[in-house]
Symmetry: C2
Subunit: 493 residues, 2 copies
């Protein structure tokens, strides 16, 4: 066979065609798959000890995560109904001062700032008291600090919960951070708070079957949930045995005749919803679609070609491009408007509930003062308890109901129903007593007026707090510094 000679023109055609094929194939692959950015491999520059509470020590291995975490100190973001700063929620809703009369939340209730503020802010809060009066148990540290699991490991949960908040101050100095959610060897997500593990087990969940994606919500559910302090030992417990809904948790509390406090004005046995974010979210569409807390509050970022989870945990409203637009194709403006349209409606209905419930408390007080009997008041107080629980189940959760607006509104409707039923019964009582059926109610139209009315001496509370901040807290920091060698200052503390 004759050997054929390959000519330059043919080589050009061959190479040219091949090049086109390769380029088109590249184009196709770019179109067909989202490029998976390389996730930074676990490369630890130095090992991290079990229960290491210092975020900055973890941060030496994970500078990107740590740097983004530190951005939770930023307080400048504002949305229509919230933001990352210390917004005074009692000023925003003076009714809630009345609703919490006799309970610490009436003293002070601010929009929580970012995670890195947690220790600073819990020290600062009037709810944790001062030197003369320190009303809270050590359980209150549970959601504030990475030192909590360390101390559980040291003392056991039961013994730790039994202590007073003020006793543990020198041990609790590192704000919410790395080791709350991560295993220090593998960096896998892990649950460090026994209350969640116990609640899941009581619900029959097999821990070994929990997926990584579920963990990306469950680590948040260690704290962003409804809980209560059970019994004398203040044992931190999630009331999930009958289910996650407002109705199921209320039935749980009713069955064990639990109340957080007795209302100062109405004498109703009240429940305080903590922050059932996880439970409300579970009833919403994002949870249904398998979207985890971290998907919106800690979306992936790419920096220098490395993909990592943004640890600047925050409102997706301040991060629409990474949080929402990964799935939603609408403009930033349109998405924000969509959120506000839901929040506007939840807020409107919440306000109706607030007004009804606050008035019910004030009217119940008048009924008592005019000689109403226990028997008269019993069904009324039950309605008030139920109404406020349902209001609070929505109001205490973050996001003004956005995590599940339909469920939020369902629950708020029942709050209004119960509060107005209670008020109807109170009006009947007034009529029977020969009182005006719509009695003159005190002026509680501002936080200050309401706090004065319910008998709070705010100056004394502030003075006592300042005493704590001046005298005790610097000692805590000194002790902690000696123990740890370093004490990283987050915020202005």
């Amino acid at each position: 066979m004759e050997k054929k000679k390959v000519k330059p023109l043919h080589i050009i055609i061959l190479f040219g065609s091949t090049l086109v094929v390769v380029l088109v194939a590249l184009l196709v692959s770019t179109i067909m798959e989202r490029r998976v950015e390389s996730i930074a491999r676990l490369q630890m520059v130095k090992p991290i000890a079990e229960w290491e509470p210092r975020n900055e020590v973890w941060g030496e291995n994970f500078p990107r995560e740590f740097e983004s975490y530190k951005r939770t100190l930023d307080t400048t973001f504002r949305s229509k109904y919230g933001g990352s700063g210390h917004i005074d929620l009692l000023e925003d809703c003076p009714e809630s001062v009345v609703m919490w009369a006799g309970y610490a939340f009436a003293k002070e209730y601010n929009q929580a700032r970012g995670h890195a503020w947690a220790v600073y802010d819990v020290r600062l809060s009037l709810r944790t008291g001062g030197v003369k009066e320190s009303p809270q148990p050590a359980t209150c540290w549970s959601c504030k600090t990475t030192d909590f699991p360390r101390m559980i490991a040291q003392l056991g949960a039961e013994a730790l919960y039994k202590k007073k908040w003020i006793e543990m101050g020198s041990e609790m100095v590192n704000p919410i951070g790395c080791q709350d959610c991560h295993d220090p060897k593998t960096m896998n997500l892990r649950i460090t708070r026994p209350a969640l593990i116990e609640a899941l087990q009581r619900r029959g969940v097999k821990l070994e079957n929990i997926t990584h994606q579920e963990m990306r919500s469950l680590v948040c559910a260690q704290c962003h949930v409804e809980y209560y302090f059970k019994g004398e030992g203040k044992y931190l417990t999630f009331p999930w045995d009958k289910g996650f809904s407002a109705d199921s948790m209320e039935a749980y509390f009713d069955e064990i005749a639990f109340s957080d406090w007795t209302h100062k004005l109405s004498k109703a046995k009240m429940l305080k919803a903590q922050h059932p974010d996880y439970e409300l979210y579970m009833t919403g569409i994002h949870a249904k679609r398998g979207v985890a807390c971290a998907d919106c509050h800690m979306p992936y970022r790419v920096e220098g070609g490395v993909k990592y989870t943004d640890h600047h945990i925050r409102s997706p409203l301040s991060n629409i491009a990474n949080a929402c637009q990964v799935c939603h194709r609408q403009s930033e403006e349109e998405l924000i408007r969509d959120v506000y349209e839901r929040q506007d409606r939840v807020r409107e209905v919440r306000k109706i509930a607030e007004q009804s419930i606050a008035k019910a408390h004030l009217e119940a007080e008048i009924a008592w003062k005019n000689g109403a009997s226990e028997k008269d008041m019993e069904p009324i107080l039950k309605l008030i308890r139920s109404a406020q629980w349902r209001w609070d189940w929505v109001a205490a959760a973050n996001g003004v109901g956005f995590h599940a607006p339909v469920e939020a509104l369902r629950v708020l409707s029942t709050a209004i129903e119960r509060a107005e039923k209670a008020r109807g019964m109170l009006a009947v009582l007034f009529a029977k007593m020969g009182l005006p059926v719509s009695p003159q109610l005190p002026d509680v139209s501002t936080k200050e007026k309401a706090q004065k009315y319910i008998g709070l001496n705010m100056q004394a509370l502030r003075d006592d707090k300042n005493e704590l901040l001046k005298t005790i807290i610097p000692q805590w920091d000194e002790i902690a510094k000696r123990r740890q060698g370093t004490l990283y200052k987050y915020g202005e503390n």
Copy 2:
């Protein structure tokens, strides 16, 4: 220059490479664009006259559309809370018999069947009466028949509205269909009902600026809206001047002191919401995303390579694949569950409102019977009016609130608030009168018991209706047949 000889091997390489490039390019274009199926061109086999009411005549030109339209006769579909059959809604909610005491809806209220049933069903309804008693104006034909625009063209809207329903029977024989929404020459969508045009103009809408996609909802909004019969002439009017929301329309009605009827038990001046589907939909996410009524209720189909609009107008729940899955990537089962989760919640809150409002009417009746004064009752009746309007604004719309669950629940919350406030005031009245504050209410737990309680003689109504069906209606059909030449029988009529 030497002429180079092209060898067979090189030709194979050249063609092979080119073929690969072409195939890959085709693959890319398939991936990158959705294939746009060819829409059938307007090819009319015979021209259609202006105001031609007979759907079967239009159908000669548009067999696919007409055949699919005829499927609206199918009554077999059932969903959790509805379906395409004649479900008895008064049996489903006996409270509504009480709520409509003194109004025709208490006589009979069935789930509407498909469009092709419209004439048959309006003749059959106890609400349109019989021979002895025929209470409705001709305006009631407006949303039932393609003959209505024909008669407007002949008589003028004002003159037509002034007639009685029974006077126009022989003219109104062709059910809702083609010419309600289409121009017979161009097949473009057009609005044939003056009430919608007038309402849009009063709102400052420039008709020439309405887009085709807007028209794909507006043709539905000719009927699926809130409306009332204005003044002596029963002039069909949409109460949209202040806006579309329940609140805005209520303010409109309050301002003109309009009421549909005076409640037989409570004597409240009541409003009846018709079927504000369009208004509720407008507040929901589908409207926000530019999805028209037709996108879900009349999605495109492809048959024999021809793409056309499915005129089997129906619940998307019976057509998830074409209605929902064009946009939503979830499974049919999951999408249906999502709908039901919203409907379950709306239904639950609606039930609370129904019970509160029905009781308020019954209690108001007791108050009157025991000598309550006009002055005592006035604020109570205002609350009942407002509560029931808000309940009805959601309840009367199709889809159990699915068109906008968040808005539906907002509005229902305010219905509950108002109804329970009214009941509280009634309890006070009872206490002042020395009556039990929770008086024994009559047993209205079934449709039959409730109808008997409000004084309806159902047998007499049915007898009178049968008289109409036996004696008058066959005459209507005879006259129509002479006029039209043919009378196409839809349904069993």
